[in-house]
Amino acid sequence: MHVRREVIHIHLPRRSTSKCDMVGMVIERDSVGEEGDDVVTPGEFLGEATEFVAGKGAYVSPNGRSVRACLTGRRKVTAAPPGSHDNRSTIEIVGHKAHGAVPQPGSIVIARVTKVMARNASADIMCVDSKAVKEKFSGIIRQQDVRATEIDKVDMYQSFRPGDIVRALVLSLGDARAYYLSTAKNELGVVSAQSISGGTMVPISWTEMQCPLTGQIEQRKVAKVD
C-alpha cells in the first residue's frame, strides 16, 4: 500500500522560550482506500492527476498535476469503470452536510412568485425535488415558458400574481441573476394561491381558481395536481 507523507511546517513566534522555533508535523495519509475516516478540507491535496480523475467535490490544481479538494467532507475513491480507455480511479468528496439542495437543469422546483412584469415573472426557489434549499435562489419564468400553446398571447397578469406558489421545471442555469424556469406542462404552474379577499383559492380549471370566501374567480396558470 502506497503511503504518502505530507510535511507541514509550523513556525512558532520568536518569543517562545523553547530554543527551537520550528516544529514539523508529519501527517500520514492513505491515498488509496475506501471511504477514509479522515476529513479533508478545501485546498487539500488528494492525489496525483496522473493517477486520479477529479470527481464531485474535487478539482485539478492550476498546474495540472495534482487533484485537490474543494469541499469539506470525506474522501471517496471509486475504481474506473471497466472498458473505458482511461483506467484512473475517481476521487470524490462525500458526506458534506453543510450544503442544501441546489437547483440543476431538469429538476422540479417549488417557488414563490415575487414580481410579475410584462414579459416575465420572478420567483424565489424554495424547494428542489422535495428538499428545501438553505440559501436564496432566484428564478425567472419568461413569457414564452409559461405554457406550451400560443406562447405569444400569454398575459403574465392572468398567469401569476405575487405570492403564488408555483411548481416549475429548471430549464437552465440562466444568467448571473436567476435560473430560467418553465411552467409549460400540465403538471406545472400555480399550486396554491390566495385571492384578493385573503382566502386560499380552489382550482376549477387549468386557467381559473375560485375563492371560497367570496366566490370570485381569478385567472392563473394552474398546475394539474394528482
Binding site: 410579475v116 412584469m117 410584462a118 397578469y157 400574481r161 405575487p162 379577499s197 370566501l213 367570496t214 370570485q216
Partner: protein
C-alpha cells in the same frame, strides 16, 4: 361581526360620508340580486364594507362605489392623465403620473409612430396621455392615441402652466355639464386647459396674467358650491378689468 342596525336597509348611507370599516350592505338580506362594486368597497363574506373614506354613491340600479379625493392617484383603465417624462428607454418612455409606479409610454404609441420618427421627449416634458393597462401589480402603460389610433389632442403640452391638485378637484373640473368656475371664467377670458384624472391641471392663455388668474380661480374652487364659484370668479375678473 356585529352589524349596525342602521345599515339593514341598503339605501341609508347613500350620499353620506363613510369611513373604513363601515358595513354598507348586508348580503343575507338581499337575495337573488346582482350588485356591482366600484372602488372603495370590499366583500367580506356576507357583508359589503368600506375600504376608503369618502362619500358613498349609488348609480341605479345596482352600482355602488365610494367617491374620495386624495393627492395620490391610483391608475385605472381609460383615464386621461398628465405625465412628466422621467427617462427615455429603448422601447418606451418612463413617465411619472403620481402613481405608486412609473408608467411606461411605448415609443410607438403615437399617431403614425414608426421606428424612424420616434418623438424626442426630454426629461421634464409634460405629456397628455391615456392609460391603457393598469393593474395593481405591474407598471401602468400609457398611449398617446385614442382607441382608433388617432392623435386626438394627446401628446406633448407646450407652453402654459401646470399645477397639481387633488383627484377630487380634477374630477369636478371634468364633470359635465361644465364646471361653474370654468364657465364663468370662459365668458371673459379665452384659455385652454388640460385636466388629468391624476390631479394635474395645465392652463394656457395668451398672456401670463390670464394664466395666473385662471390657475388661482381653479385652485380656490375646490370646496365651493356652484354659486360661490361664480361669485369668486366674478370678483377675480373685476380685479383684472380695474388694472
Amino acid at each position: 361581526m356585529d352589524v349596525d342596525t342602521r345599515n339593514m336597509t341598503p339605501t341609508n348611507l347613500i350620499d353620506k360620508i363613510v369611513v373604513p370599516g363601515d358595513v354598507v350592505l348586508d348580503l343575507t338580506k338581499m337575495e337573488n340580486q346582482t350588485i356591482k362594486l366600484g372602488s372603495g368597497l370590499r366583500q367580506d363574506c356576507d357583508c359589503i364594507s368600506v375600504l376608503q373614506a369618502g362619500k358613498l354613491r349609488l348609480s341605479k340600479p345596482n352600482k355602488y362605489w365610494v367617491e374620495s379625493s386624495q393627492k395620490r392617484y391610483v391608475p385605472s383603465l381609460e383615464d386621461t392623465v398628465l405625465g412628466i417624462v422621467v427617462e427615455h428607454r429603448s422601447d418606451n418612455f418612463l413617465v411619472d403620473i403620481k402613481a405608486p409606479n412609473l408608467a411606461f409610454l411605448p415609443v410607438l404609441a403615437f399617431e403614425g409612430g414608426t421606428r424612424r420618427n420616434i418623438p424626442k421627449f426630454e426629461t421634464g416634458t409634460l405629456i397628455y396621455a391615456r392609460v391603457v393597462k393598469a393593474n395593481g401589480i405591474m407598471n401602468p402603460e400609457l398611449s398617446c392615441t385614442d382607441a382608433s389610433g388617432k392623435a386626438a389632442e394627446f401628446g406633448q403640452l407646450k407652453n402654459g402652466y401646470m399645477f397639481e391638485t387633488s383627484t377630487g378637484l380634477a374630477r369636478m373640473l371634468l364633470s359635465s355639464p361644465t364646471c361653474p368656475v370654468l364657465e364663468a371664467l370662459g365668458k371673459k377670458i379665452s384659455f385652454e386647459t388640460a385636466v388629468g384624472f391624476n390631479g394635474r391641471v395645465w392652463v394656457n392663455a395668451s398672456s401670463p396674467d390670464d394664466v395666473i388668474l385662471v390657475s388661482n380661480a381653479i385652485m380656490r374652487s375646490e370646496f365651493l358650491s356652484g354659486t360661490q364659484q361664480r361669485i369668486m370668479a366674478e370678483k377675480l375678473l373685476q380685479r383684472l378689468e380695474k388694472v
